[in-house]
Each structure stands twice: as structure tokens, then as C-alpha cells.
Symmetry: C2
Subunit: 220 residues, 2 copies
DNA sequence: GTCTATAGACCGATAGAC
DNA sequence: GTCTATCGGTCTATAGAC
């Protein structure tokens, strides 16, 4: 009875509007809006407390809906978190799309690192437990997540190899190590530490970490 | 920690090892041995699962004692973790003591970073949740922990400033940022990622991360 | 009438505390 | 070994939109 796939002819009484403003049924819009609100809340809560400390009651309260309604959208807490992770991957992909295709590889990589740190300082970078937890498994099963992650790694990998080929990046470093090092900037605790010291602006913090990442601590 | 049957001693963390025929009662020795075993187990479990995922039942089972006995030694899970943290601080202080006092500051700092990464790869670096959690507060209240952390920060700070003064470290970087960056190496997820790739030895991983930390990703 | 969201009680398991 | 709190997840009954 429950047809998840929405046929285009859902509302019989609704006259087909001009295609310019016409869209899915009112219900579907509400559904989508609620789902966006859920993912947005989860994203923030995940960023500020982490997966284990986040409770689904909390999410429901934050969104302003009943917990049972949450489970109409996502069958488990893991799926909730996975949806948030997929969202940031989509955001990252969208950011990559904005980068000029012919830019210098090194600058592309720096731009990406800068972006991930901005997202983290904005409190919008979900922190997933690096090792343990049921999340690992759930994410590994999630097609959207894995595809997105692979796509991003692929694109960064191209730039890394190009930057090494043209002598901009240290060629002695395995590309995989460079990739992981960049990913690690997204959850670098140094950002939070420096922010907590209240001595620097967000911009200054990002430039410092970016510098230490690419230029190193040693004097040049 | 509340010392119930502790003889009046001036120094809280006495060696207590060499005195086989010493004054300490048999009970006290047993007590100490059990406590060492507990802290050791907590240290390992904390390193491999983190504070939230670690249960005290697990700790009791791992040590091989009753859960109730745990509470004879530590009044709460937080104190358990704090004891493990204090232990690694003590190890770190002991390591700092082994460094030649007249060594080049930069090399001292590199040696410290290398040591923390070795400890982490050995699965002996307890990972504490950087932000949230009740642990933060408990640690901030713990005198031994705060004193040890301050002492280490002090000594590293001296080297950092000395290294900058002699032009070995980038003088544009605030010392506090350098300090946090070095601390962050102790919990750098890149080590685990690279180890998981099974392409490198532990030594190679450490040298790569050490290089990226001090030399930077960019070609020199 | 039919569908769906809501509020809130409710259950089972687990973990910390004692 | 027991108590108690919490949390993930479910269920029911009511209300309202179509």
C-alpha cells in the first residue's frame, strides 16, 4: 500500500500548473523540508558532540518533531549519521566543482584544505569515530557515502600526482599519505585548541594550520 | 585518588619497586600491583576504543578482578581514565628526562614527536574526546594531570622558543600553535590510516608524518 | 475514508554506580 | 549482585490534511 515511488499523478484534484512553478505534491515538499531540517540538525549535533554522545531524542527535540517521525525518514541512528556524512560529501563535491579547472594543482589542494577547515570551524564538520563503532560498518555499506568518498579521493589524487610531477609537492611523499594528511585537516584538533585560546581570528587560525601543513614547522 | 592504607609518604608517586624488603606492608604491595594492572588495562582499552566505548565491566574482565574491586581503587570511570592519562604524562616526562640537555632544540622537539607517534602506533596512547564528555571536567580537576601537562608544555615551550630564536623553526608561527601542533601528532589519525593501508612499516609511517609535520607537504 | 505526523508511553538492553 | 538511569527503538491513539 505504501508506494514510496511517487507517481507524477499523485493529486487528482490538483490542476497541472505551468511547468515553471509546478512541482511535487505539497506533502512531498513538506517531507523533503523536514528531511533537510533533520539532516541539518544531525550535522550540527554530530559536529559538536560526536556520534556516540548524540542521542536521537536530542535530534528529535532539536528538529522539533517527534522521535517516531524520525524513524519515518531514517531507519536507524546510523542511517541518520550516514545521511549527514553524505551531505558534507555533496558539499565538498560542489566546492570542488567551483574550483577553476585549469588552476595550479597545489593551489587546488590548498583551497580544499582551507575549505574543510572553514567548515570545521563553522561547527559543520561531523566528527565520526575514526576507529571503532557501528558507524564504520554502516558507512562502508552506504553506497552514496562510499561513492562520494571515492570520487573525492580520485579528484584529489589527480591533483596530488600532478603537483608532484611538476615539483610543487614533495615527490618523496607517497600520494596516499598526502591524501590522508589533507583529510586529517578536516578533523584537526589544533583548530579547536587555537580557537579555544581566543587569541586568533578564524582566518588567522586557518592560515596558520594551512601553513604548517604545506610549509612545515621548520624555517625555510 | 584517596589513599586509605597508604603510609605517610612525602612523594605520592614513590618508586616502590626496589624495596623488596622495604617497609611497605604486603597488602600495600598487592594494592599497588593491582592498581598498576588496572591502569595498564585502562591505558590499552582507552587507546583502542576511546573513553565512551570503554566499559568498566570490560576493564574488570580484562584485569581479571571483580568490578566492585575497581571501585575500591577508583571512585568513578572518569578517575579511571584520569589515572591512565597521568600515567602517560609520567612516561612522557621520563622520556623528556632522557634527552640530552644540550641537544639542539629542534631535534629535541622532533624526538618528542617521534616518541608520541611510537606510543600511539604501539596502541598505548589513550584517546580522550577532544571536546565534549565528562572527562574534560574530571581531568581539569585532577591535580596530577594538570601539573604534569603544564610541566611538559613548559619544557616544550622552552625548546620551541629557543628553536625559533636560532632560526631553526619558522618564527612566524606562534609558539602556542607549534605546541598544539606537536600535541596533535599524538592522536593523529593519519598514523592509523597509513597503518591500515598495510603498505608501510611503523618506522616508515612515523618518518613520513614527522617529515610532513616539520618539512611540510610542499617541495623544498 | 485514507494517509500521515504527533505526542507520549513503553520496552529491552546495557552500563555506571554502589 | 542489585539498583537505577539512559538510550535506541517501537507502539498506540489522536488530530488533521487530502
Amino acid at each position: 500500500m505504501t508506494s514510496l515511488a511517487d507517481p507524477p499523478t499523485s493529486t487528482p484534484s490538483a490542476p497541472a500548473r505551468a511547468d515553471s512553478s509546478a512541482k511535487r505534491s505539497f506533502r512531498a515538499q513538506m517531507h523533503q523540508a523536514r528531511e533537510d531540517a533533520i539532516v541539518s540538525s544531525v550535522n550540527r549535533l554530530l559536529a559538536e558532540k560526536g556520534f556516540d554522545a548524540m542521542t536521537v531524542d536530542e535530534v528529535a527535540a532539536d528538529v522539533g518533531i517527534a522521535k517516531a517521525s524520525l524513524y519515518k525518514h531514517f531507519p536507524s541512528k546510523e542511517d541518520l549519521a550516514a545521511a549527514a556524512m553524505v551531505k558534507v560529501l555533496r558539499r565538498a563535491q560542489a566546492f570542488l566543482d567551483t574550483l577553476p579547472a585549469q588552476g595550479a594543482p597545489l593551489e587546488q589542494l590548498q583551497a580544499v584544505a582551507r575549505w574543510t577547515m572553514q567548515v570545521q570551524l563553522a561547527g559543520e564538520m561531523p566528527s565520526l569515530p575514526s576507529e571503532n563503532s557501528s558507524l564504520r560498518g554502516a558507512l562502508a555499506e552506504n553506497r552514496d557515502y562510499m561513492d562520494g568518498l571515492l570520487d573525492i579521493s580520485e579528484r584529489l589524487g589527480q591533483w596530488i600526482e600532478a603537483a608532484q610531477a611538476e615539483g610543487a609537492l614533495n615527490p618523496k611523499m607517497p600520494p596516499i599519505a598526502v591524501l590522508y594528511t589533507l583529510y586529517a585537516r578536516a578533523c584537526d584538533p589544533v583548530l579547536g585548541f587555537l580557537k579555544g585560546s581566543e587569541q586568533f581570528t578564524d582566518e588567522a587560525i586557518i592560515e596558520m594550520v594551512l601553513s604548517s601543513c604545506f610549509e612545515g614547522l621548520r624555517a625555510r
